[in-house]
Symmetry: C2
Subunit: 238 residues, 2 copies
């Protein structure tokens, strides 16, 4: 009976290889205000990031999901924190560290509007149009990837590209200092794009090379990616 | 028995005072693309416009609802046409005319991005930020209100304001040439704004004066507004 229980213990651990690990996942778009009523958004639905958070929790990890504005329910078994802007997302990720693994799946706005207006910008009938100036947002992936004691052992970024998908992903890997870039083509596909769609064709770009997966349901991409992360955690003894 | 049936007929007509009238209602935000993944949006949820469309249909009107991107279900008994941009909304409204009544409740973007990019605008690491130039969108309310044989007898616009609500609404009424402006304060209220909230405090601004309503559920605003429109249709023999 004791042997059975020991076997059970290991069997359970085998199914939950990320037990005791803390993973931070970002998901969804960010919204960057222009004035009290207008904002800049992007077409990320959060489906892929939310599915990854759920899949990692399914493998036993403690998952903190930092989510931009989405219409999805919070995944069960995951601690979800809701943010709107890139700056809020950066702060929430920072507050959630330390982590063993960080997966930056959110489509964070690269730029925000400089000098957000306090009042609605009005059309005055003169035909004059406003000019918007932008400033760069904090780079969450690069910040998390910075070498140092706080750097999570495995940092995974995403690249949403519309052309030269793998080339851009390699450049992004080098520029950000993360371990993997999951690249996908958001401008093509049978339904005219991956954002908001139910499936996704990805390439995992690492220093070692490129692994290209067939087009799969986003939930299947998430399950496989969580398994792939668990393998790496085991191999690298994270 | 025949008398009963005649009475029934008139009773039913009394409950359906907009029978035989065609109403076009616009609702929701518009999304104006910046590039294949980014766009400019606004905080309109479409709740008020959709509720108005449903309430008008409830009074017997044939309603065409032209809706921007919302997460609401299409109202029952209403023909709903889905659009994304201001230009698409303008074309859909034009295609839906002639109408006896037009209610422009959508929060149409005043401006769109000039020269939408075919490819995702990339952050190249240089720290350079893009500049966005804008052009004015078609003005649906002003276009519908233009004098002429095609002008609907009753044109109602909305004004989402954050300050000097009634003053701005009066100016808008004169500028657009519509019959009523329904003005609301989107920047204040107990929950920090009306957009996305369940209730709404409105002012009906006409050439004759201002009628201010107490803060009500958006469904109640819709019911009362539909009744108010039906009264006007009767009074003015539209």
């Amino acid at each position: 009976a004791i042997l059975d229980r020991i076997e059970d213990f290991y069997a359970t651990r085998g199914d939950r290889p990320l037990l005791g690990k803390h993973v931070v996942v970002t998901s969804g778009p960010t919204h960057e205000p222009i004035d009290p009523v207008r904002y800049i958004a992007n077409r990320s639905s959060g489906q892929q990031g939310h599915a990854i958070a759920a899949a990692l929790a399914g493998l036993g990890a403690r998952v903190t999901l930092v989510s931009g504005p989405v219409t999805l329910a919070d995944p069960a078994g995951v601690e979800t924190r809701h943010v709107e802007t890139a700056r809020q997302m950066a702060a929430a990720v920072d507050a959630a560290l330390p982590a063993d693994i960080v997966v930056c799946a959110a489509a964070v706005a690269d730029w925000r509007v400089a000098g957000e207006a306090d009042q609605k910008i009005k059309k005055d009938g003169s035909g004059q149009v406003p000019a918007l100036a932008f400033v760069e947002n904090p780079d969450i992936l690069a910040t998390v990837s910075k070498p140092g004691a706080r750097r999570p052992p495995l940092v995974v970024g995403f690249a949403a590209e519309t052309e030269k998908v793998v080339d851009h992903a390699r450049a992004k890997l080098a520029r950000k200092g993360c371990d993997w870039i999951i690249a996908n083509d958001v401008g093509s596909g049978p339904d005219g794009g991956v954002m908001g769609a139910a499936d996704n064709a990805i390439h995992i770009v690492t220093a070692g090379g490129v692994e290209s997966w067939p087009r799969l349901a986003k939930t299947e991409v998430a399950t496989r990616l969580a398994r792939r992360i668990a393998e790496t955690v085991k191999e690298r003894n994270i």
